[in-house]
Amino acid sequence: MSFVEYGDTIKDGDTAIVFLGHESMFPVKVQHGTVTQTKYGVIRHSTDLIGKKYGSKVTCSKGGWVFILHPTPELWTMNLPHRTQILYSTDISIITMMLELKPGSIVCESGTGSGSLSHALIRTVAPTGHLYTVEFHQQRAEKAREEFREHRVEHLVTVTNQDVCKNGFGVSNIADAVFLDIPSPWEAIGHAKSALKAEGGRICSFSPCIEQVQRTCLAMEEYGFTEINTLEILLRVYNVRTISLQIPDLGKAAEDNSSTGFDSSSPSHQGSPCTNLQQGTVQFKSGVPLREVVGHTGYLTFATKS
């Protein structure tokens, strides 16, 4: 396994994802002799994991079971240890497409943060591309390097510990795309421009506040970027539920025995055929929105170097 190549069976040294149930999962470093505690019991790596097929069901010591999944950047994003606020797959998806990333792309990123986007970028540019990622926090930079090594992608990424606003990305005129997620992106636009290839490079800046966006757009214009475009994207998840609604008792007309209006047994009754006259309910399937959803992550500004 690696984050850029699928494998079939679990091997010693792999990072695997243990899936317990609805949005309950965690990553695990597969190692001979190790055990992992779960609420369903213990998982013994040597017997329960190593050699098993990814996607297998593993029964834990207490009898409950889990699934072992092959890691992907998306699963990693949902389970990685946060050192900073991270980008989630919704934003990552549109960033990847709007920066026109693909195998072979050279991309620069700052800040590395917790490596959420980094893993996704590495996956997309593999096997012939490269990610140059800059992080000004020394420990975070080191932790990122460590993770890339563990995930067997270190050959595709270079982590540099410096301040991108002062010292840039460490490369010039070769990047197909640059991504900025820093407090003052307008200070790095010049460096971004010099890192980008001569023509047609793409840039993206992510900022939570509109004031940051305004300054960044101005800087992009000053540096001659074109096609400047700002957008935001939000995910709306629906829970699939069968809903039962009661039919209200509207009583009966004086002599007439037939019910008025809402006759749930008539063929013209619209919607679901699942009526239950005995209980006086109507059933239907619905995609129910969540009670609380993410209302904002940040604004994404894209532009092209001309």
Binding site: V4, Y6, F19, L20, G21, H22, K53, Y54, G55, S56, K57, F67, I68, L69, H70, T72, E74, S89, T90, S93, I94, T96, M97, K102, P103, G104, S105, A126, T128, I174, D176, K197, A198, E199, G200, V213, Q214, C217, L218, T230, L231, E232, I233, L234, L235, R236, V237, Y238, N239, V240, R241, T242, I243, S244, Q283, K285, G287, Y299, T301, S306
Partner: protein, 483 residues
């Protein structure tokens, strides 16, 4: 290998995309071929050899000329008003008549100069606020300074173009939804992907772009053959197509039950299928829309399509050399040729069937006009465990049913039904706000991950499935019944 030099150059035969502000149009780069775009007629000849991304002006002769530099119309502080309380819109503030303007245009006066003339001849211009003046100038520039940029096709460009121009051809798949599919599906180099789409080949092209020519793709298709009109616009190198296979949906059941024969192929009149494929690139594709037949109302959006414009997104001439016309005189050769073609098709079918039979695909992408449930239930059989799948549907309801059926089937986890909400912004000093119009909906996605399917013993009883998959809804027990 990707070109990382000083930018790719426009070559004859390329599929290029013309861009003006937010309007795109894909065209074939051919000499001496008149192109219509945004109310202008011109030839692309002069563009050949220039780098993609170059901006051109249309000369009076209908030729393209690279735009020199970036001129700014007078930025010196002009006289301006404070608000519009005294400005009356009686349609009489512009002193130049239509004829005057036409005369200027005919004289060959540059657009920039025409805009200047309009400003000088507007009685209300100096009363407008600075912002209103800005807006006025932008509007006039847009109308009279016709600049066209020629850009290299990519998923970003083509998906935006199709969504704006011909959403019906792509089942109203909005570009951000497509972006989600590519990421949720973990599309990357080296995968063995199964793709089923009726989006003119746009989704296939997007998948191919993210795979970079590595790995393999099996495209499932309805009817006689896959439509790949959009795919050809990406400009992929030939090698990318070496590992692109196709397999007819009509043979899926027999493949699954082990009774596949090659006796009746869906397109034994392959000439028909191939001709159909080409003509779909030529003329408007008449996709029988069983859902709705009403026209898309043209609204004033940032990506407005002028209603008087021709409807075609593509101006592509059929490739020559590959499809010979059958002449009665050459019967014998025709028969032999037909036999060769049939043999080729059978060979390819068996190759694709063998790949599918391995049941180890790394992912499944579905984006079609068909009801998703039967597609998912059958095509998932070909996917390895612990691999993602993503299904797109223009409507939510079929995905509700699909979700339920998948739960009953088992062998999938992490099912998620979602849509993305997208908003574009205008960012200007003191004038930043969301844009005035936005897309009402971009379709829905159902995604999940496969796991080893326990056949024989009941995979999960419903209640167990509930334990694993559904959140325990502690409230609202009266109303909600988890599926």
């Amino acid at each position: 290998a990707m070109e990382s030099g000083p930018g790719a150059r426009i070559r004859e035969g390329d599929c290029a995309v013309l861009k003006r502000d937010e309007v795109f149009k894909a065209v074939s780069v051919l000499r001496r071929r008149k192109i219509i775009f945004e109310k202008q007629w011109f030839y692309l000849d002069n563009a050949i050899g220039h780098i993609y991304g170059t901006t051109f002006e249309v000369t009076s002769g209908g030729n393209l000329q690279p735009k020199q530099g970036v001129e700014e119309t007078t930025t010196e502080t002009k006289e301006a008003g404070t608000d519009n309380r005294n400005i009356v819109d009686d349609g009489k503030s512009q002193k130049l008549t239509h004829d005057d303007i036409k005369a200027l245009k005919d004289k060959g006066i540059k657009g920039q100069e025409i805009v200047q003339q309009l400003i000088e001849n507007s009685t209300t211009f100096r009363d407008k606020t600075e912002f209103a003046q800005d807006k006025y100038i932008k509007k006039k520039k847009k109308k009279y300074e016709a600049v066209i940029t020629i850009v290299k096709p990519s998923t970003r460009i083509l998906s935006t173009m199709y969504y704006a121009r011909e959403p019906g051809k792509i089942n109203h798949l909005r570009y951000d939804t497509l972006a989600q599919m590519l990421t949720l599906g973990n599309i990357h180099a080296g995968n063995k992907m199964i793709v089923m789409e009726t989006c003119s080949g746009l989704v296939l092209g997007a998948v191919m772009e993210r795979m970079g020519g590595y790995g393999s793709i099996i495209q499932m298709y309805p009817g006689g053959g896959p439509v790949r009109a959009a795919t050809s616009c990406f400009g992929f190198p030939k090698a990318f197509f070496d590992n692109l296979h196709e397999f007819p949906l009509s043979k899926v059941q027999s493949l699954l039950s082990g009774t596949l024969t090659t006796e009746t192929l869906p397109a034994d009149s392959e000439d028909n299928a191939l001709v159909e494929e080409e003509s779909n690139g030529l003329a408007e594709e008449k996709q029988p829309s069983l859902q709705e037949t009403e026209e898309e109302p043209t609204t004033e959006t940032a990506m407005e399509i002028n209603p008087t414009e021709e409807q075609d997104t593509m101006d592509i001439i059929a490739e020559d050399g590959e499809f010979k016309e059958n002449k009665e005189k050459e019967n014998k050769e025709n028969v032999r040729e037909k036999q060769m073609k049939q043999w080729e098709r059978r060979k390819k079918l068996l190759e694709a069937a063998a790949l599918l039979r391995e049941k180890n695909a790394d992912g499944l992408i579905v984006a079609s006009k068909f009801h998703p449930t039967p597609l998912l239930l059958s095509l998932l059989e070909f996917v390895a465990p612990s691999r993602p799948f993503v299904v797109y549907c223009q409507y939510k309801e079929p995905l509700l049913e699909c979700y339920t059926k998948l739960r009953e089937r088992g062998g999938v986890i992490n099912l998620k039904l979602s849509e993305t909400w997208l908003r574009n912004y205008q960012v200007l000093p003191d004038r930043s706000h969301p844009k005035l119009t936005m897309s009402g909906g971009g379709g829905y996605l159902l995604s999940g991950i496969t796991v080893v399917l326990d056949k024989g013993k009941p995979d999960c009883s419903n209640s167990e499935a509930l334990k694993m998959e559904e959140p325990s809804s502690k409230r609202c027990k009266l109303q909600d019944l988890p599926c």
